[in-house]
Symmetry: C2
Subunit: 279 residues, 2 copies
C-alpha cells in the first residue's frame, strides 16, 4: 500500500508527498487539521489540505518573518504575531533579548494545541518563554484595542482564503499601522511571486498608501507553492535596507539555517518579472 | 478524461502537471523525448521523463547561465555551450555583440531538432544567428581538440544520470580549463541546494582545485526539482562578484525577465544551510 498527500498548487499542478503515517486528523470551528509523517520532509502540518509547516524547511519562512523585521528596529520591545499559531515565527523573535512582550494572536487554538504536541521544536517556545502570551482571538478585533503598542507586527497568515481573507485587506493594514508605535514595522507573508503577483501587487499598493516606507523581499523555500515566497514590509521610520544592522545580524546568524547578513540585503533584490509590478 | 505528467523529484515527492495534449513523443539513441502542452506552464519538454524546458520559466535558467558568466568577462569572443541542445542559453549569449563564435556541442541531435520545431522562441536562435555553429558530438571528446580557445564555456547538462554523468567529473572540468583562454570562465548547472548538496559540494571542490577563482550562485525557478537551483562558476582571472560590469548588465536587463544588475550580485549570497558545505 502507498499513502500520498496531494496539494493542488494550481488547478493543473499537483504536489504529492509520500506519507509514512497520518499522526493526527481533526476539525476545528475554522478548518481541517492534519499531521503527517512524510518520507521526504519529516513531519508536515496541513490546514484544509494546504502545507503549513514541514520539519525540513520551516526555518526559512519563520526566520525571514522574524529577522527581516526585527533586525532593522534598533530596540524592539513588543512584538505581535497574527496567525502563526505553530509558533515558528515566535521562536525566531524570541532570539532577541530586547523583546519584553511577544504576543501571539491566533484565531484557532486547535492549531497551537496540535503544533505543541507534534512540533515541539517549532511550537515549544510558546510554553517555555515567559515573555510569550497567547491570545486565541480574531486578529482584526484584537488590534482594535491595541493602539500605539507594538514595535513589530508579523502577519503570519494562511493563504487569502477562509479565515485569513481579512488579513489581506487594506483596512486591516491600517489597523496594523495604528497598533504600531511611532517607529514600528509590519511584515506580512504575501504569497508566491510565480503564482500570485496580483496579490503581491495589492499588498504592496496598500502598504505604499499607508506606510512611509514599504519593501518587498523574497526567499526560496520548499513546501509553499512554487518554492519561492514573498514578504511585504511596511515601516514608519526604518528602511529595511539602509537601516540593516550588521551587528545584530551577525549575532543571529549563529543560530539560523537560512537567514544571514548577506541574505538580509539580497532578499530585497527582485527579478525583473517581479519588479514590473512597481512600474 | 484527465491526462497528467508526473515527475518524481524524490522517491517520496511527485510533481504532476496537467497536460492538454502530448505534441511529440520519440526516442533517440540516448533518451526518450516528449513535448507536452500543459495547463499551467505552457509547452514543456522532457528528457527521460524529467522536465528540461517549460515556456513559463525557462528564462530564469538560461539567463543565469549566460549572463552570470558573460557579464564578468570584459570582451568575450568565443563561447561554447555543452549540452543545452534546446538553444536557450545560446539565445541569451547571442545578446552580446562581442561574441564572434558561439558553439553548441550537444550529444543528441534529436533534442535540437525537437526544440527547433516545438520551441521556436527558445531554439530559433540556433538557425537565425550566423555566429552559431552546431556540433552534435560528445562534449568530452569535442573539448580534447579545442585547447586555449573559448572565453566562456557553459555546461548546460541534464542531471548527473545517463548521458550527462561524465559532465560532473573533475577530469571533465580539467578539460574545460584547458579549452578556455587565459582569462576564460566556465559555468555549470549544479543541481538543487535543497536536494543535491553533496553534488554541489563535489562540483565546488573540483572547481576550487582547478580554477584560481570559484563561486556558487543560485536562482529561483519553477520546473526543476525544489524550484531552487545552483550554478557553479570557475574562472581563471575575473571574479564573478568584484568584476561585475554594471554597464553591461544595464544593457542586458532591458531584455531579460529574471536577470538584472541587482540579481547578479545577490545570486552569490547563500543561505546558511548552503554555506555550510564550504566549512
Amino acid at each position: 500500500m502507498e499513502f500520498w498527500f496531494s496539494e493542488f498548487h494550481l488547478p493543473g499542478l499537483k504536489y504529492s508527498l509520500k506519507v509514512k503515517e497520518c499522526l493526527y486528523s481533526g476539525k476545528s470551528e475554522y478548518q481541517r487539521l492534519d499531521v503527517f509523517e512524510t518520507e521526504e520532509f519529516g513531519r508536515a502540518f496541513t490546514l484544509d489540505g494546504i502545507l503549513m509547516v514541514t520539519e525540513k524547511d520551516e526555518f526559512v519562512y519563520h526566520e525571514m518573518m522574524a529577522h527581516l523585521s526585527s533586525n532593522i528596529h534598533p530596540n524592539p520591545k513588543r512584538a505581535l504575531v497574527i496567525g502563526g499559531g505553530d509558533g515558528g515565527t515566535i521562536r525566531e523573535l524570541a532570539r532577541y533579548d530586547s523583546f519584553e512582550e511577544i504576543h501571539l494572536c491566533e484565531i484557532d487554538k486547535h492549531v497551537t494545541d496540535v503544533c505543541l504536541e507534534y512540533f515541539p521544536n517549532v511550537a515549544g517556545i510558546l510554553k517555555s518563554d515567559e515573555r510569550v502570551k497567547l491570545y486565541f482571538e480574531d486578529g482584526i478585533k484584537f488590534l482594535e484595542n491595541k493602539k500605539n503598542y507594538y514595535d513589530i507586527i508579523c502577519i503570519d497568515s494562511t493563504d487569502p482564503i477562509g479565515p485569513a481573507v481579512g488579513l489581506f485587506k487594506e483596512d486591516f493594514y491600517k489597523l496594523c499601522y495604528e497598533s504600531l508605535t511611532e517607529d514600528g514595522i509590519v511584515i506580512a507573508q504575501s504569497e508566491s511571486p510565480w503564482y500570485h503577483l496580483p496579490i503581491i501587487k495589492d499588498v504592496q499598493d496598500s502598504f505604499r498608501k499607508i506606510f512611509p516606507i514599504s519593501k518587498l523581499a523574497t526567499a526560496s523555500l520548499l513546501a509553499y507553492q512554487s518554492g519561492f515566497w514573498s514578504f511585504s514590509i511596511g515601516s514608519k521610520r526604518y528602511n529595511p535596507i539602509e537601516d540593516f544592522n550588521l551587528e545584530k545580524a551577525e549575532k543571529i546568524e549563529k543560530f539560523t539555517k537560512y537567514y544571514n547578513s548577506g541574505i538580509h540585503k539580497a532578499s530585497f533584490v527582485l527579478p525583473n518579472y517581479v519588479k514590473k509590478i512597481f512600474r
